[in-house]
Amino acid sequence: MNVQRFLSSGIIELYVAGMASVQEAQELEAAMAQFPDLAREVEACRRDMEQYVRLQAITPPPDIKEHLLRMVADETTKYTD
């Protein structure tokens, strides 16, 4: 499959939406490694999806960070001991 066929097939959108089959994803990823233009198109679509995700950002409850930092500090102490 050439680059143009990938671009017009709609597979990029399905892939980024997480709806490509395993086989379709493998084919696209193989082609992306070969064709930088195709890889750029996928990345542009992914960035847009990520912007949609960022629009839906919600500040988490404040206690989560405190708890996490404590766990991380404990783990780090164990590793270095």
């Binding site: 709609g10 959108e13 399905l14 980024v16 939406a17 997480g18 709806m19 679509c45 992914r46 847009d48 999806m49 990520e50 912007q51 949609y52 995700v53 960022r54 629009l55 839906q56 950002a57 919600i58 500040t59 988490p60 409850p61 989560i64 960070k65 708890h67 996490l68 930092l69 766990m71 991380v72 500090a73 783990e75 780090t76 590793y79």
Partner: protein, 193 residues
């Protein structure tokens, strides 16, 4: 809607790291970098978890697990394969979807959840202190309900084409076409923001 709600998320310091510096700092087990990472990315990742799980407690647990995975597995991150945010987002989606499945949510539950999501976009939104819901409502206003649901089922709920066909009661062959159209519409709306 008060304007200041869009600026509720306040960053602790003005200092900024590039993505490469963040990765380097995390690999060096720098806890200050981890703290910075959390401040900058937790709202996006919590938003993802909340959208997938539709439950604040489960989303909080997931967020914690996600950041521990980031901390513990940063050596597995390969910048040649994609940006840090993409990697973290995939961890968040996978962790939350696993959590959703472990709670043995049935297909009907997924439909229910998507329906319930509506309250996130309307009056109750302020409760969650969304960091940018003015932009979001502009996008959602123009995306029709089916397009929004298709994108959410695919991207957030991890539904297959078959599941989406069943949920929306449309032929399997139509799912691909509609998903693509929904994605193209979404991208155009985002560009217009």
């Amino acid at each position: 809607m008060p304007k200041n709600l869009t600026h509720i998320f306040i960053v602790e310091s003005d200092f900024t790291y590039t993505e490469a510096e963040l990765v380097q700092g995390l690999k060096a087990r720098n806890q200050r970098v981890f703290s910075y990472l959390y401040d900058h990315y937790s709202p996006a990742l919590y938003g993802v978890a909340l959208k997938i799980l539709n439950d604040e407690n489960a989303a909080g647990d997931t967020l914690q697990e996600v950041f521990l995975k980031i901390w513990r597995n940063i050596d597995r991150y390969n910048e040649e394969k994609g940006r840090l945010f993409t990697w973290m987002l995939n961890i968040a989606r996978n962790t939350a979807i696993d959590m959703l499945r472990s709670k043995s949510h049935r297909l009907e539950q997924k439909i229910q959840d998507v329906g319930d999501d509506v309250h996130l976009y309307t009056g109750h939104l302020t409760v969650y202190q969304s960091t940018d819901h003015l932009g979001l409502s502009k996008v959602l206003e123009k995306l029709n309900k089916e397009q929004r649901i298709i994108i959410d089922l695919a991207y957030y709920k991890g539904c297959t084409q078959e599941e989406i066909a069943t949920i929306l009661n449309i032929p399997l062959g139509t799912v691909k076409t509609r998903t693509r159209l929904a994605m193209i519409r979404l991208r155009n709306l985002l560009k217009a923001l």
